[in-house]
Amino acid sequence: MTKQITTFEDFIRQILKIIFWVLLFLPLIGVPVYYLLDTVFHFGVDVFSLLTVHPEQMINLINIEPFHSLFIWTTFPGFTFAALFVTFFAMLWERKLLAKIQLRVGPQYAGRYEGFLQMVADLLKLLFKELVTPNAVDKPIFWSVPFASMAIAGALLSLVPLGPTTYLADPPVGVIMIFAIIGFFPIVTLLAGWASNSKYPFLGGLRALHQLVSYEIPLVLSLLGVVVLSGTLDIMKVVTAQSGVWYILLQPLGAIVFFIAALAELERIPFDLPEADTELVSGWITEYTGMGFGAVFLGVYIKLYALSGLFATFFLGGWLGPSFLPPELWFIIKTFIVMTAMLLPRGVMPRVRIDILIRAGWGRLLVLSFANLFITMFLVSLGVLHIGGL
């Protein structure tokens, strides 16, 4: 592996190389180790704040409190948790559930019982597959899409509170932040379609653009009723405002619109036109192979989890529930129920046509969400409902 050192220049080069790698990996390994030790020995020096000079400004950005529990948080409610446990479980659940609905068996062999290790097998398969980069693609954009897909889904996830103390970020404008993050998805799909430089991905990307843009707006507007009722844009406060009545009872129209728009945002059946496999092979993800495909797919499922969680948060009272179970568990139960509801249409519904889809988005859902908003505002101004809880 290493070349024989014969000259002084080689020696210097080798030293510099070692220094470079050490400098590169020291923060990556050293800082976490430092914090791990810090929990035991309490050094009293906050290295993280030494690295960035004014972290308190960033506190406004993401309300991360003491830094030493960063690790727990990122793993438990955050990305790793979602990716490893929820997503895997959701995929397996989806496949088994749909199989049962359609009187099939579903995954059967991997794992001892009902093929419960199927997803691990799939992951291994994807990991060991060759990463093919088609000739005509625009490489930088093409390969940034999987990461962007995962990152944006993760960003959305970071806004979902799991419990009263278990949350990643609690910005004062959380609801609008959701809108901002959702706005990234069309770009990613469009860029994926364009960068693949191939017929089907491009068509899929354009379809995705139409669909996502059309349904983003009802999605946003359907939440405004909730915002009016709770009188805040802070997601945590929206949850606590539901301690009396869940908003699904006060906002049934908004909940329905949000649910349908979320289905469309997720490109799930019956709104799976961008990746309609009978027409477009696999839509905008056709050209991805191996773990690239896996990453895009992971992003999609994290998004599913995040949007289900948001539905639970906004309409089902989030982590609120009787105290015999921890709030985090309540949240997960509700999210799981919503997720199942989102998976179900795939088993029973056909795909809609593009014009119906667009017309439903602009002509029906938009009107319904406006109606919801106006009814809410009317009721609030009449004094039937009250801002900031019931």
Binding site: L51, T52, V53, H54, Q57, M58, N60, L61, D138, P140, I141, P171, P172, V173, I176, M177, F179, A180, I182, G183, F184, P186, I187, L190, L191, W194, A195, L206, L209, V213, E216, L233
Partner: protein, 166 residues
């Protein structure tokens, strides 16, 4: 002295702007522009204006960038490739931009002693912005709504006329 976060954001913002203008592939330019605007949004965060920042992201990244990329795709690829930049023109541009930058630098250096270096405590919340918009600035809001609907109508009309001619 500016800190690391600030410098990084500055790099993203200005770098994104330069990429937006100088990239060979115009899609990269669009992405660069989105990055630059995102950087500006980060500055808004830094300046305790989270509402404006999120609004900026929603509008620019969520809407304008999508529109631009969409437009890029509607126009044939070869058209962008015809793009030529004359070296003389570039020199002139750089000089002018430098002139602007230099004069602005002078202005800023001259007045820096009088400008506050520490921000005053901010108490503005988005609720207050909303109140301001819906009360004393409501005429402006109405005019803005008119302008927006007019521009949407204009855009639709332009597209529609074209379809009829096809």
């Amino acid at each position: 002295m500016a800190d690391i976060v600030f410098l990084a954001m500055m790099a993203v913002t200005v770098g994104g702007a330069i990429v937006a203008l100088e990239s060979r592939e115009i899609v990269y330019g669009a992405v660069g522009l989105a990055g630059s605007l995102f950087g500006v949004a980060a500055f808004f965060f830094l300046l305790d204006a989270p509402y404006v920042a999120v609004f900026q992201i929603t509008v620019y990244v969520g809407a304008v960038a999508v529109l631009i990329i969409f437009t890029v795709m509607l126009v044939r690829h070869e058209t962008w490739m015809k793009e030529v930049t004359y070296s003389l023109g570039r020199l002139v541009g750089i000089l002018t931009a430098a002139a602007i930058a230099v004069s602005l630098t002078f202005a800023w250096a001259a007045s820096s002693s009088q400008l506050p270096s520490v921000p005053v405590p901010s108490t503005v919340t988005f609720l207050q912005i909303g109140q301001l918009i819906s009360t004393s600035l409501s005429p402006a809001l109405e005019v803005l709504a008119l302008v927006l609907s007019a521009s949407v109508l204009a855009a639709i009309t332009l597209a529609k006329v074209e379809r009829e001619e096809d």
